[in-house]
């Protein structure tokens, strides 16, 4: 197993094989092969293998600190933004390695979007500008009508359009927490990602907003592969097709204990620790 020097991989190649704004884009599959992660000398994740099939919703579950967020962040190269972070193994999107320079890192992140635990709309931007932020960040030129269409379609997909259509010019931070999170989803969708990673997107939200986001996940999963970290077992059962259970024994790195169709994980787990966890006996 060789560790990858993340920082030295080519990141500047200019070319993008997906067209933004292309509504016909396809959900992509992600594959993690033997992924291990370190923060400094501390190994927090070991030998993770996971297939996230196109158009499926994969839920990552497990107690706090077992490496779910870390794993999620390796999937779109956010992991390497932590200064001491390293990793080994490979992540493939539709069979192409994302770490070894075949795809520029900005394209990787555009194709594999991310929604964070804490809503983080850009406070200096309006609701509409927030939706379009990804295009601006990518330096993409669009016409006025394209932008208007995109704002409406993305906000609609995120289940927010009706609430904000009359306040598109308000600052993003003027929305409620649940609305802000859906705005962040809309923002991610605006660059037509093939995969959307969500790290406990509902943990700071009220039940109604949570339901709206779960609805959104079901609706978008036809065109976008979704990987979601959640602590909510009901949520995992409601939204996901497959489920991976992470666990870290004391002073050991996290591993996947069991992985499979969500129904099996919850009703018929092979491992007793999975059974204990999904039935709320620890974590």
């Amino acid at each position: 197993m060789t560790s990858i020097d993340i920082t030295s991989t080519a990141t500047t190649r200019m070319s993008s094989d997906i067209s933004l704004l292309d509504p016909g884009h396809q959900a992509a599959g992600l594959t993690a092969n033997n992924v291990s992660c370190w923060f400094g000398a501390k190994k927090v994740l070991e030998g993770v293998n996971l297939d996230m099939a196109p158009g499926q919703v994969t839920a990552l579950i497990g107690p706090s600190g077992c490496g779910k967020s870390t794993f999620l962040r390796t999937l779109n190269r956010m992991h390497e933004l932590v200064p001491s972070a390293t990793l080994a193994g490979e992540i493939l999107i539709d069979g192409v390695d994302i770490y070894r320079g075949a795809i520029p890192v900005t394209d990787v992140r555009r194709r594999i979007g991310m929604v964070f635990q804490k809503p983080n709309p850009f406070p200096a931007m309006t609701v509409a500008e927030n939706v379009l932020a990804g295009l601006k960040l990518s330096g993409l030129k669009t016409t006025r009508s394209e932008r208007d269409d995109l704002i409406e379609s993305c906000l609609s997909k995120a289940g927010l359009w009706n609430e904000v259509k009359n306040r598109l010019g308000d600052p993003g931070r003027a929305l409620s927490g649940g609305q802000q999170q859906r705005l962040c989803i809309a923002r991610s969708l605006a660059v037509s990602p093939q995969v959307l990673l969500m790290d406990e997107p509902c943990s700071a939200l009220d039940p109604t907003s949570t339901r709206r986001i779960e609805q959104t996940i079901s609706e978008i999963s036809e065109t976008v592969t979704v990987v979601i970290v959640t602590h909510n077992m009901q949520q995992a059962q409601r939204v996901s097709n497959r489920c991976a259970f992470f666990l870290a024994a004391e002073n050991e790195p996290g591993r996947i204990i069991e992985e499979g169709p969500t129904k099996d994980i919850f009703t018929n787990p092979r491992d007793s620790r999975t059974n204990d966890y999904v039935n709320g006996r620890f974590g």
Binding site: N120, F122, G134
Partner: protein, 339 residues
């Protein structure tokens, strides 16, 4: 129903006249009260200090101001002790010119240095640069002045000459033909003084801007990165909007220092008392340099006149800072996304 708030909602209609608006009563605990009074008195002391300084300058300068009248604002020469006219019509513009030259150089340099340190530099270089900038900010201005005088001034005049020759059509860079353009007319100019002042302003501006940029919310940074943002995209859409207040604040701090810089300017310029647009040829001035040059040789009336000039500098600085803080208070710097 009762409404809690600072003031009644403006759209209260007639049939709700019975609603009683409540003024929230806050009972403070002991510690809170002590902290509050300490903080309040510190604030009050600041005000008192400013009042004292302004009042002192006004009282000391009053004799001269009474004699000069409006002429203090319109006269260019400075001969209070010879019974002549005196006014700030030349030294104030010179002061501002030097400060503008200094900021014109310092702000872009400080901004890019701060961005380089927070956004682009590798971790180790970042620490080193930060320490060096802080160190430079602490170097006394006399040192900059001496170095500027002996090292930089002789080297700058070539640049001055080049600018005079090639950009002379810009009024600022126009050099009067009667001097010719021999190198001898360039050393003691507004431009050279401004460049040297900029050197001492750059570290201060950089330190302030770097500090603010480094506090740009990580959540927003990551949000921008996760959308496929380039580093420049993150700078433009997250760091700069967040740091606007710091950019303005840092620049104003630099402007304050540039306006008041004494020793370096005194070393460089040859005093002039006729305002002009051109910054390249010899002859410049500043209020602070004037005070430093004339103080020891002035009669009490001459000193009164210098105090009046000091008052003018004090007021200018206050106005500039007030303008800046208005702009800063309208920007968002310092707050992050809130749920």
């Amino acid at each position: 129903m009762s409404v809690i708030g600072q003031s009644a909602p403006s759209d209260v209609d007639d049939n709700s006249a019975s609603e009683q608006v409540v003024t929230p009563v806050v009972r403070r605990s002991g510690v809170d009260r002590i902290f509050r009074s300490v903080a309040t008195s510190s604030g009050v002391i600041t005000f008192i200090l400013m009042g004292l300084i302004g009042g002192f300058l006004l009282i000391k300068g009053y004799d001269a101001l009474k004699v000069a009248g409006w002429g203090f604002l319109t006269d260019s020469e400075w001969a209070p002790d010879q019974g002549g006219k005196f006014g700030i019509a030349a030294i104030l513009p010179f002061t501002v010119q030097i400060a503008v030259v200094a900021l014109f150089i310092a702000v872009p340099v400080a901004l890019s240095t701060a961005l380089f340190i927070t956004e682009y530099a590798p971790r180790k270089i970042r620490r080193l640069l930060t320490a060096m900038i802080d160190l430079l900010a602490a170097v006394p201005s006399l040192i900059y002045g001496l170095w500027g005088l002996f090292y930089l001034q002789p080297r700058l005049i070539t640049l001055s000459k080049w600018m005079a020759n090639h950009m002379g059509w810009v009024p600022f860079f126009h050099v009067n033909d009667e001097y010719g353009t021999s190198l001898g007319i360039f050393p003691s100019s507004t431009f050279v003084a401004g460049v040297i002042v900029s050197l001492m302003v750059i570290p201060i501006c950089t330190a302030v801007m770097r500090e603010v940029f480094s506090q740009a919310p990580p959540g927003e940074r990551e949000g921008a990165m996760a959308l496929g943002g380039t580093r420049w995209g993150v700078v433009r859409d997250v760091v700069l909007p967040f740091g606007r207040g710091g950019i303005i604040g840092g620049s104003m701090l630099g402007l304050g220092r540039a306006l008041g810089e004494t020793i370096a300017v005194t070393l460089i310029i040859s005093p002039a008392f006729t305002a002009k647009w051109s910054i390249l040829d010899q002859g410049s001035n500043s209020i602070a340099a004037l005070i430093a040059l004339k103080f020891s040789e002035s009669s009490s009336f001459g000193i009164s006149a210098l105090m009046a000039a000091g008052l003018a500098l004090f007021i200018i600085t206050l106005l500039v800072n007030a303008a800046a803080s208005t702009v800063v208070s309208k920007s968002r710097s310092g707050s992050s996304t809130e749920i």
